[in-house]
């Protein structure tokens, strides 16, 4: 049941109708029921894995909280003399118990994710290389990937860490905890929500609000435009060029790389808009995941605007723990003693950044190209953080106005270029092919494709190419407005005829120009495989 399928919209509509018939007390139960139905419908027997995650997360969160309560009780009893135990020892025991729970969570949840995602990939490679056949030594699992396993795993682990850090209280109702993990709009591709933000939205009832309905509808419509008109159309060109890359070269790869940039953005942000719009119809606010990332002026800013919930997840649950760990503190201290003040300040952050990006790359896939992709962005981020100040000084010395619109545009173009190149690293199934493509891109000579109708031989004929370009321009204009105002609020200030004209225009643009149905290889969302 894809997010742009008719079945999904019918399912959403039916869920909404029943939701608002129920009293607020029962609404969250209904959400859980439809979420479970949705998941089982999509994943069938693989649903057992999300069930394990729900049970493990619930049990471990309770155990973490119980450990903390036990520690508090121990402190009271130590104070009153009832318990003969050192406070530090009690604290250490508490930390050990809680960490054991976190490790158990990592083992179970992240372990399942790693095994299901990478076992067959890695051992197919090993078996083939060293034992002459894909299944000749280590047996493969042939299980497949449960829907949204990365997203719900990260969300569950994030919840447990938040409980561990006492940022949120553990949810004592198993079914409510399960709803947080399985909530159906977000299960496909996120966003990765925080318990503290999402749980009040999920568990409290909502009265029917027509504005929420229309708000959600507009958001979903916009998401469908980005996904079906832009992303899926760009995807035709991307597949055509990069999967048959031996027949293309130079500027053809550049055009396809830029198309890929729009495909990724349209697909992912479009899907998130549909998810958030669907949730909004229930009255549930979900965090946004994108903030017009192609307007970023440097790589760090790009990753603060792109897949924001994953970025903050990595920051809060990987980056900070690593960079603020005792090992990092020791290294920092040692460097400070030797007089390397800047290095003492930045090295833990930089190393953590590289490790984080390697993890990010691995999350995308098991091949060399994903590791290189991670390294590429890790290095760019470190370099940007390291040399940003120096570049600003250089610009000042060269009397370059770094606050004007043209310079901002240059920065955005530069960032877009770097991101587009970075994606080419993992666009093909093997790294060697990616290198061949990159080499061809940087020695491009066939600029004639822009003048001899070569643009219409990259998988999209002329009309489709024009639609893609025009749709991207519409996207650009809307996002320029979004940088300056809340566009939906502005829309509500307009007359009904204008709003309806826009809505109908968008609906029929999606219906007519959307890439779906017969003859289109309109598979699901790209990130659904994660």
């Amino acid at each position: 049941m894809g997010l742009t399928s008719l079945n999904f919209f019918l399912f959403l509509a039916a869920s909404l109708v029943v939701y608002f018939q129920l009293s607020e007390k029962y609404q969250w139960r209904w959400l859980l029921a439809v979420s479970c139905f949705f998941y089982v419908y999509c994943s069938r027997t693989l649903s057992v894995f999300i069930a394990i995650t729900c049970v493990a997360t619930y049990v471990l969160s309770i155990l973490i909280e119980k450990s903390e309560l036990r520690y508090k009780d121990e402190l009271k009893r130590i104070k009153t003399g009832e318990l003969d135990l050192d406070k530090k020892a009690a604290k250490a025991q508490n930390l050990r118990r809680k960490r054991a729970c976190i490790w158990a969570a990592a083992l179970i949840n992240v372990g399942m994710l790693v095994v299901l995602k990478f076992w067959d990939l890695i051992f197919t490679d090993i078996n083939t290389r060293f034992f002459g056949g894909a299944e000749n030594f280590v047996p493969l699992l042939h299980i497949g990937l449960p829907l949204g396993i990365s997203f719900y795993t990260f969300q569950a682990v994030g919840y447990l860490v938040d409980v561990y850090r006492k940022q949120v209280a553990a949810e004592h109702n198993f079914f409510k905890a399960a709803l947080f993990i399985t909530f159906f709009p977000q299960i496909v591709q996120g966003p990765i929500s925080r318990f503290g933000q999402l749980s009040p939205e999920l568990y409290s009832g909502h009265k029917f609000d027509f504005k929420n309905l229309t708000d959600g509808f507009y958001l979903m419509l916009w998401g469908m435009f980005k996904k079906m008109v832009i992303a899926d159309r760009a995807g035709i060109m991307v597949d055509y060029v990069f999967y048959d890359y031996q027949n293309f070269s130079g500027w053809q790869f550049w055009v396809a790389a830029f198309a890929y940039a729009f495909q990724m953005y349209g697909d992912f942000s479009g899907g998130i808009d549909i998810v958030r719009g669907g949730a909004k119809m229930f009255g549930i606010e979900m965090v946004d995941n994108f903030e017009r990332p192609y307007f970023s002026k440097d790589i760090p800013e790009f990753w603060r605007r792109w897949h924001m919930t994953l970025g903050t997840w990595f920051r809060d649950y990987l980056f900070y723990p690593m960079s603020l760990s005792s090992t990092a503190q020791k290294v920092s201290k040692s460097l400070r003693k030797k007089g390397h003040l800047h290095l003492a300040k930045m090295l833990p952050a930089h190393v953590s950044c590289i490790v984080l990006w390697l993890a990010n790359g691995a999350w995308h896939g098991a091949g060399t190209q994903y590791i290189v992709f991670g390294l590429y962005h890790g290095v760019l981020t470190v370099l940007s953080e390291e040399y940003h100040g120096k570049l600003v000084q250089l610009g000042d010395k060269l009397h370059i106005n770094q606050k004007c619109a043209s310079f901002s545009f240059f920065q955005m173009a530069r960032t877009f270029f770097l991101v587009a190149v970075g994606r080419v690293i993992y666009i093909t199934p093997n790294f060697g092919a990616s290198l061949t493509i990159l080499k061809s891109m940087f020695t491009a000579k066939n600029v004639g494709i822009f003048f001899n109708e070569g643009l219409y031989k990259l998988g999209l004929d002329r009309p489709d190419f024009y639609v893609l370009v025009f749709a991207c321009l519409v996207l650009l204009v809307v996002e320029i407005f979004q940088e300056r105002m809340k566009i939906r609020e502005w829309l509500y200030e307009q007359n009904l005829y204008f709003r309806w004209g826009l809505a109908f225009g968008l609906i029929f643009t999606v219906l007519i120009f959307g890439v779906y149905g017969h003859g289109y290889d309109a598979a699901g969302f790209i990130y659904m495989q994660y």
Binding site: F210, I512, Y516
Partner: protein, 507 residues
């Protein structure tokens, strides 16, 4: 929800439905080809006067290629409609009959049995040609469910064709926006197959050797789906007191054993069956000229013959009391005349003999321009001259050295312009309707000036010998341009193909 919001929601839904409907109508393929208007055939059926059809003809392409209700009307006064479409399976024909009987109460329903031995489902394109333009009704829904069940195709794409055809936006042309009904349609379901692709002599010999009971091969069976469908058609007819008949048009895509299989089935189920392949001598189909696809289907010439035979059969075996308004009768008469004109016009391009051609020109419906380019040469025979003179044309025997310019114009059988001259012979203009005719010819020194102009169109008829341009008044267009090279032995004919009607060639 407040009342205001409910009204907004309903209004928005209505607007959505209206726009959706318009876009569907624009983006849906029109399934109309010049030689086979599959969409119009269905839409025109609904526009027939209620209960005015004596016969409903069902089936697949064999029916609309081989049956002309206009021919049968002209000769026997029996009205009918060919309510069929390409590759139509028996089970779809049953739905077509169910649909037809909501609007017509014929005396007879004829099912053309070309598809009766075929249990395989057809492809999506053919299914859509059959189903898409039926009016929305439980019958259409049943047809959709059946097809989707058989083929696994998407029901929602049949229910909402926009979902299937939205990608046609880049292929739209003017005809897609022409949504208004074309009231000029008159063919009563017949497809105009105006090309000839002869069957091979080998296949003709094999066909002519067919005799029932002489083949030793096993009979084939009629499968369960087709059996059920035909019996369903019979039942629908019986319920309304309508007679039901099986017919097989002349076709080389048949065999004696197929005929015997169907005959046996018909006998077992008390359904009359007319296998026209067994009456081929009486019908007189010429498989060199009367087929547009090497013997599988008839073309317009074969259709005329087959329809004539079928009309006689119907008259002899059934009683008809045609209920039709006077205006409709006039429309049928005019349509039959137009159809005849079309057939006659089509006959011209296949005539290779100069004398025969001259005799075919004596048609009130033609305006004929005759020119001599350069010279009539030494092979223009007296018989040929005589044939032209019977039309009133004095085509000269021209001077061997200098040649003679000769230009003439016939309106029907009347000579309206004629000029013989040395040098250049140019007639005065002649106007008929909105078209003006000029005829110019030149002798040997001026042969390049030979030209016929009809309206804004010029026909460079400057090949040696006789050059003839024939204009059909009913069709309002030039239907043939031919050169008879009287300077060569045998007087070879060369016809320049005119866009009488484009043929899609296949169905």
């Amino acid at each position: 929800m407040t009342r205001k919001n409910v009204i907004k929601l309903i209004s928005a839904s209505l607007i959505f439905i209206i726009i959706f409907g318009i876009l569907t109508a624009v983006l849906e393929p029109k399934w109309n080809y010049y030689g086979n208007q599959t969409q119009t055939r269905v839409q025109a059926f609904y526009r027939q006067e209620k209960d005015s059809q004596d016969v409903i003809y069902l089936g697949s392409s064999f029916s609309y290629c081989g049956i002309s209700p206009l021919k049968i009307w002209e000769e026997q006064g029996i009205s009918g409609y060919v309510f069929s479409n390409p590759a139509q399976k028996a089970w779809i024909s049953a739905y077509y009959l169910e649909e037809a009987l909501k609007y017509q109460t014929p005396e007879v329903v004829i099912y053309e049995a070309g598809a009766i031995l075929d249990e395989e489902e057809t492809d999506e394109g053919h299914n859509r040609k059959n189903i898409d333009y039926l009016r929305w009704s439980p019958t259409k829904l049943k047809a959709i469910m059946t097809v989707c069940k058989n083929t696994g195709e998407s029901k929602k794409e049949y229910l909402f064709p926009l979902l299937r055809f939205h990608s046609r936006w880049s292929d739209l042309d003017q005809s897609d926006f022409h949504l208004a009904w074309d009231s000029s349609y008159y063919l009563m379901g017949t497809a105009l197959k105006l090309t000839t692709r002869p069957a091979s002599q080998k296949n003709i010999a094999k066909y002519e050797a067919w005799q029932p009971g002489t083949m030793e091969t096993q009979k084939s069976d009629i499968g369960p789906k087709c059996t059920d469908a035909v019996l369903q058609m019979k039942k629908l007819c019986q319920e309304k007191g309508i007679k039901f008949q099986l017919v097989r048009m002349p076709s080389m895509q048949w065999s004696p054993e197929a005929g015997e299989t169907v005959q046996q089935f018909a006998d077992e189920n008390q359904i009359p069956f007319l296998d026209m392949n067994l009456h081929r001598e009486e019908i007189g189909v010429n498989w060199r000229t009367d087929t547009h696809d090497k013997g599988m289907h008839l073309n317009i010439l074969g259709c005329e013959k087959a329809s004539s035979f079928l009309g006689k059969y119907l008259k002899e075996n059934y009683k008809f009391e045609t209920k039709m308004s006077e205006d409709n009768r006039k429309f049928w008469d005019a349509s039959a005349a137009k159809f005849n004109s079309l057939v006659e016009s089509y006959t011209l391009p296949v005539i290779k003999d100069c004398e025969d051609y001259a005799r075919a020109l004596g048609n009130e419906d033609f305006i004929t321009a005759v020119t001599v380019c350069g010279t009539t040469g030494s092979y223009f025979t007296d018989r040929q001259r005589q044939a032209f003179s019977e039309l009133g044309l004095k085509v000269p025997k021209t001077d061997a050295e200098k040649g003679t310019a000769y230009s003439a114009l016939l309106d029907g059988k009347k000579v309206v312009r004629e000029k013989t001259k040395a040098g250049v012979a140019k007639t005065k203009p002649y106007t008929w309707g909105e078209d003006t005719f000029w005829v110019v010819s030149g002798d040997l020194s001026h042969s390049g000036k030979t030209l016929v102009t009809v309206g804004e169109n010029e026909y460079k008829v400057n090949k040696p010998g006789l050059n003839i341009v024939v204009y059909d008044k009913t069709l309002g267009q030039v239907v043939d341009v031919v050169n008879f090279d009287t300077t060569q032995e045998g007087v070879p004919a060369k016809h320049v193909k005119q866009p009488l009607i484009e043929d899609d060639g296949g169905e």
